[in-house]
């Protein structure tokens, strides 16, 4: 069965290390070594933009609501003339769509200010661009000629969805504050010697604050039989990059245990 032994050393003020540690008595065969260095640093806050999920089902459901469907019969009267149809859309249908969307798209992860901002973004986007989109790109006037009420609500729902989806990045996002994690940097070289002569590692470059993987991936395999009461010598040469921070070096020794 394999066991592990951890040796921890600290380097202050970019100091070099030259230390000796006794290995456990039951450690007769070293099968692997892993080394990691961490530095305790204060983290800074930073703003990160995060996307909100796109509320597809909600938008589809809202658009097929009674409020929109009931406008169809008024729209019927206007569909002979493009300008009239457009004017009616702007004066009656668009405000209805805007109010349905801005009142009902609510994200529980947003606070009241952020929610307000989201609603305003929806209102502005639709008021400024939706009429042009639905008449010029989607062709409501031409396509709407032979529609019945169901086709009409379906068309509005589909186009609203497509339009919103095209502008997902503008609307469905919010700013969150996260802590900046410390950056990795090369902090020095480490050499490990067993009983003062046999090198396990020689001038091995240590990176502080690097992302550590799981134990079996970190371990560098070795096969180093030992005498009883062996010791391990750690020599660390700092490259003076650590400023005032205390560098903690941990050496994991994996050994065969009877």
């Amino acid at each position: 069965m394999k066991r592990h032994f951890v040796i921890t050393h600290q380097s202050k003020d970019n100091g070099h290390l030259n230390v000796q540690d006794l290995l456990p008595a039951s450690c007769k065969l070293i099968t692997g070594i892993a080394v990691n260095a961490t530095v305790k640093q204060d983290a800074e806050m930073e703003d990160v933009l995060e996307s909100l999920s796109f509320p597809q089902t909600l938008i589809t459901g809202l658009m097929q609501d009674e409020q929109i469907a009931s406008l169809f019969y008024s729209y019927l009267r206007t569909r002979s003339d493009a300008a009239e149809s457009r004017a009616f859309f702007e004066s009656d249908i668009l405000p209805e769509i805007v109010s349905v969307l801005s009142n009902n798209i609510v994200f529980s992860c947003l606070n009241s200010e952020q929610q307000q901002e989201l609603s305003e973004n929806i209102i502005n986007l639709f008021n400024n661009q939706f009429t042009n989109y639905i008449y010029n790109e989607a062709g409501l006037f031409n396509n709407g000629q032979g529609m019945n009420d169901l086709d009409f609500t379906d068309f509005i729902a589909q186009q609203t969805l497509m339009f919103t989806y095209k502008h997902t990045d503008e609307i469905f996002k919010h700013t969150i504050q996260t802590y900046k994690q410390p950056e990795p940097y090369e902090c020095g070289n480490i050499s490990l010697l067993v009983n003062g002569n046999s090198f396990l590692l020689r001038d091995y470059m240590l990176t502080a604050n690097r992302k550590v993987r799981y134990m079996s991936k970190e371990i560098i395999p070795f096969h180093e039989p030992l005498d009883v009461n062996s010791n391990i010598h750690t020599v660390f040469k700092s490259n003076k990059n650590s400023n005032d921070n205390i560098l903690t070096i941990r050496i994991y020794i994996e050994y065969e245990h009877e």
Binding site: R3, T8, A43, Y179, Y214, M215, K217, E218
Partner: protein, 128 residues
């Protein structure tokens, strides 16, 4: 061909809350119906607290993870397979004691005041 492992795999989860900068000691027992523990790994509810956190674990009164071992070496994140991360052990379960000492070191990283740690024990039950 490799002999097929016919033992039944089970999982035991130990969950505790750790406050920023504090040490938490957990004392409990493995489940009576499990025969042995084959592996151990952890997950943190806030992975930002990972840096500098260390732990020490005893199973069945045997120190399987020595003092000052970094939690990061046993931490399962979404891009890893559990088999890779799980720290292999071979200890008796059957209501044996579990002792975990978890030391947080995240007060400098300004993570939230506390977070949850889940320790997963991969257990095995012999097929009768």
């Amino acid at each position: 061909m490799e002999a097929k492992d016919t033992n039944i795999k089970k999982l035991q989860v130990v969950k505790f809350e750790v406050k920023k900068g504090e040490t938490f000691e957990f004392n409990g027992n493995t489940k009576t119906e499990h025969d042995r523990i084959k592996g151990i790994f952890l997950r943190l509810s806030n992975a930002q607290a990972l840096q500098g956190a260390t732990l020490r674990v005893w199973l069945d009164d045997t120190e399987i993870i020595p003092d000052d071992t970094e939690v990061a070496l046993l931490h399962h994140s979404d891009d890893m397979s559990i088999n890779d991360v799980a720290f292999p052990v071979e200890e008796k379960a059957k209501n044996s004691p579990v002792r975990i000492i978890y030391k947080d070191n995240s007060e400098n990283l300004a993570v939230a005041d506390s977070y949850h740690v889940r320790v997963y024990l991969l257990a095995e039950v012999d097929k009768k």
